[in-house]
């Protein structure tokens, strides 16, 4: 294979400049999936013999797999189709979309008149897919088909991946590229498949990529400093931002946000609070070390690493002053009185062993109940052989409905009229997932006699303590330790 057969290095250089730090992968790609734009110019030179029919591209998330492949194909290959497997709901959906994508890419450059006879046929299974691809690609010498994230395909048959890897054996001129995250060894049941590894970015690479487009320090240029104009700002930005990114990497990201996307998100999240003193005029734009020391609190607070649906109020831009208002009033939506007691009863039923119920919930005298603390002579002093895990740290146990109702009757300070409202309450709490059906026979059927319930995951020890406090109930008297 002569050097002149490969594409001009300028094109590759251009790509590797755009997709920085992915030099090696681009070169590998060039060797494996060769160009055919050149072939248009020099039709006699064929390189098909060197192309494998399947290529696996793998690497952890946010390492540029999909984007690099797409950019490469766009610049080097005339005919290709990319199927995003994450958007496919079933295996059949994947086949249908594949056929549609291939057809669309083939008809893409034909005049509009021909589009009426679009490829409009069903594709139920793998065999049909092979037939369709054979039919579609009959006239084409080379076609690249990319399955992006095919290891995350929903409802896929176990034979899907090996079968897709073999498509090239049945359809001539087809190259299949599979983009996966962590391929298990021999997952294609085939040997000799070339792999291209996209490793995670290192510290230097991450910072380098991020520093390519630094965000603004000043949203509006300061008016009180006379000679600070846009030009100086444009110089300051790329000076400060990489140093800041490196500091973020060292303090937070290297342990908890190593991939590029979350690293970038983290940097952007903390950027505005970080530069706030500069905006306030306390520090100059080049006082990085002093600024770092002053803002060290930002780099120690690990809560920013948690994702949340709501932007956390402390980091929000100070333009919205009424930030704390919704969080204050949101706690006011409380459960009704009996719902609280029912949850307490359910918690007790879940976390107390059933055999101790008589001890804790019998309406006997206080004196009798106190006795449990005394113990017998045998139990005193000696540490138990079995290691006891506190009950509230274990998972919830299932209980029957009648048990929780009896516990409810026992812990309520006054009598409860067993109306339909109580059962509605059980149903409501179940739909809120504060109680969940589970355990025992017939867990799915709500009408099954003796069906069992559990408290939901949200009903933790702390939550129940809060409930008990709000209804003034001595929870600790009833919890078996």
């Amino acid at each position: 294979m002569g050097e002149q057969l490969l594409l001009p290095d300028e094109l590759l250089l251009m790509l590797s400049e755009k997709w920085t730090c992915r030099d090696q992968q681009l070169r590998q790609l060039r060797t494996l999936v060769s160009h055919d734009r050149i072939n248009l110019v020099q039709p006699k030179l064929h390189v098909q013999a060197t192309t494998p029919s399947t290529v696996v591209v793998y690497g952890p998330c946010a390492t540029g797999k999909s984007r690099v492949i797409q950019a490469y194909l766009e610049s080097h290959v005339t005919k290709f189709a990319i199927v995003n497997c994450r958007e496919c709901i079933t295996g059949r959906h994947l086949f249908e979309r594949t056929v549609a994508a291939v057809a669309a890419s083939l008809w893409n450059d034909k005049p509009e008149a021909n589009r009426n006879d679009t490829y409009n046929e069903r594709c139920e299974n793998l065999a049909a897919l092979v037939v369709h691809l054979q039919k579609l690609l009959k006239m084409h010498e080379k076609f690249v088909l990319v399955f992006d994230g095919v290891d995350k395909q929903r409802e896929s048959a176990p034979t899907l991946l090996p079968a897709l890897a073999r498509l090239g054996e049945y359809v001539s001129g087809l190259i299949t590229i599979m983009i996966v995250q962590h391929p298990p060894p021999r997952f294609l049941h085939q040997s000799g498949v070339p792999y291209i590894h996209f490793p995670a970015y290192t510290r230097a690479q991450s910072v380098h990529i991020l520093s390519r487009n630094p965000p603004d320090i000043f949203l509006e240029l300061p008016t009180d400093v006379p000679d600070y104009d846009a030009e100086v700002h444009a110089e300051d930005k790329p000076w400060l931002w990489p140093r800041y990114c490196a500091a973020i990497w060292d303090s937070l990201a290297q342990n908890a946000a190593r991939d590029l996307v979350s690293f970038r998100a983290l940097c952007i999240k903390l950027w505005r609070p970080f530069v706030a003193p500069i905006l306030a005029g306390d520090f100059g734009t080049r006082d990085f070390s002093r600024l770092l020391v002053a803002q060290r609190r930002l780099f120690q607070d690990e809560t920013v690493l948690l994702d949340s649906i709501i932007a956390s109020p402390t980091l929000a831009p100070p333009t919205a002053p009424s930030q704390d208002k919704p969080s204050k009033s949101s706690s006011a939506h409380e459960l009704p009185y009996y719902a609280k007691y029912l949850l307490l009863a359910a918690y007790l039923a879940s976390f107390n062993p059933a055999k101790t119920d008589a001890l804790y919930f019998m309406k006997s005298t206080e004196r009798k109940r106190r006795k449990k603390g005394g113990g017998t002579a045998r139990s005193g002093g000696r540490v138990s052989q079995k290691r006891q895990v506190p009950r509230h740290l274990l998972g919830a146990a299932a209980f029957t409905l009648d048990r929780v109702l009896s516990v409810l009757h026992a812990i309520l300070p006054d009598d409860l009229r067993g109306t339909v409202d109580v059962y509605t309450l059980v149903a409501t709490l179940t739909s809120l997932k504060l109680l969940v059906r589970g355990g025992g026979l017939g867990a799915g059927d709500a009408l099954e006699a003796g069906g069992k319930w559990k408290v939901g995951a949200a009903v933790s020890w702390e939550y129940v303590q809060g409930l008990a406090r709000s209804v003034d109930f001595g929870l600790s008297d009833y919890v078996a330790e």
């Binding site: 249908e96 009648d402 006699a449």
Partner: protein, 674 residues
Amino acid sequence: MEYEKVYVFQPESERPAKRRRVEPQGLQTSWRRRRQVFDRVWSGQQQAIDARLDGINASTVNKVWHFLERAVLDEQPGRIPTGIILTGADGATGPGIAKQVAERIRVGKHRRILLSLSSSSGTNLKALLKTLIVKATSRRTGSSDDEELDDEDDELRNPRSTGPKLLNYDLQLLQDHVREHRTEQVIITFEDTEAFDGDLLSEIIELLGCWQDRIPFACLFNIATSIDFLQQRLSKAAVKALAGQVFDVALSSVEVEQVCEAMFDTDTPLWLGSALMSTMLERQHDYVVSVDSFAAAMKYACMSHFYANALSVFLGLEAECHDIAADHVVAVRQLGSFKTYARRLLDDHQVAVLKEHLESDTALRLLVRDKVAKGRQKLSAMVQTLKVIRLVQQRLPHTPVSSMSSLYVQAMSGKLIGSPLIRALLLTIRKAPSNIVVTLLRDLMAFHTEKHTPTIPDCQLLLTRFEDLIESQKHSTKPLRSEDDSQNTTLRTTVVAQKVELSKQKSALSEQDKKYTELLGILTSGIEDIFASNLVNPTDLIFHEIFVYDLKSPYREVFTPRPRHAIERALATPHDYLDCDCCGSGQGDEHVEATLAATQPATAVLYQLYLESGSLINASDLWQAFQAVLGDGGEEAETMTLFQRALAELRYLGMMKSTRKRVDHVAKVMWQGL
């Protein structure tokens, strides 16, 4: 007709003569009229309630709407703009908000579609997407022109005339729809977020996030518990895909207050009594019950009064009163309140007046009309006074403001006037400094002119006197203090003969302060007079049976039935329900023995045996006991049949089930009295 297989049944146009027996008689004759009155009364109140409930969340709806508007304009790439609406456990307001948002969409300038998903829409991703796409493509978009809509419908019938056929769960369909209709936002509301399976919810959110670059999605979540709980259940990728903002709706207690106030504000002819009202409010507070059910309970109370109480016909229009049938008037004479009224007339030696009422129907009709009108006026004056109480509470510092509903309950029970609440209130006024008192007085007057609440006579005069007094002590900016104010008394301790004596000492008061205290006395006595004259006990009013409804039992029977108790009781004492002669003798001492008799239904017998046993029941023992109860009279095979049927019925009722612990045993599942 015999040769016809099918024929059309054509009933005679006139009903047979026999039917006429159903025609109402006696007090029932007024039923039609009472129903009309009810319809008129309730429609007004329903409107008032609806208006209040719509208005209560108007600000939230506004905020949600602004959020959606903003989401159209500046999109965040890769994240779905998400509104999280905290609805509280009953979750009844969530759909209301979605409805109001949908109303806005219809008139808004952007083209949007609102799709709602509930947990019943599908149990897997495929079904959920199918519902979503069907709803989106069959729904009309937010344009108003009818002709245009028809065109759109035609287009919809064959979506994608070009291009390949798509599976019905492919979001490509939605994308094409959005593109064809130039929709600018697809809003998806999750009605009961908690009821969704956590994995399913994460999956659909991740998928929507994938499509966000092609379909402009926005989500609204109704949340009953908390955001943390939602986040716990979602996958990390799903959480990353959402950019949320929280919206809070009114608390359910506030909603209940609003419904109550709507009830009092309209000129209602029927007032609910304290016992019923407090039961309803209690249920609202204790259980997860939506506010709609509260309104329904009110409607039911109204209905049962007008439908069941013949005398409610007097609440109709005044002009109609004179032709009310005579037996109604006779019924009025039986009312307890009329009897007390008659006794009072006799005590006052007004025998002639009483005689007229007893003999002349016309006179009594007039009396009823007048007194009912007066009683209703009294009650509305009472509600106005409650507003005055609330106003005073609001103005005074360190005084909690009682809710309208609780005040109403107390007032209707006639216990408010002597209650500690009122006494404490009057004492606080007596101690209040001048700046507070003046604002209070001004507000009282403003309230009087606005809402016709009762007020003190010569209010204006009193105010000018207060103001003059304040004017006169220009030199000090401190407000005037009352003599009763505890700041003006000091506690003095003296030790006399080794005993500590505490004595209160009034500090020296200025001349103005003394005058001020005097004026305050006038004010407090005026307010006291208002309370005394307006806070009447409704049961003291004559004919209160007509315009006050206070029966708890229909409400309890209908809204809070006890199904389990009913079944248990019926099985335990079948005689009470069957009323047969065979086991009727069981009275008094013999009752215990009579509970187990061969004449009882087999299921009841078996149930009583079931109650006596432990949690695991040996089937053979049970059979032998059963056989012993039923006696040797019958064939064994027959008894066995009865036994097996009874066993099957108990199992069907969910009282027992087979157990894997022991093959020949059944497990007891339900205990009595829960």
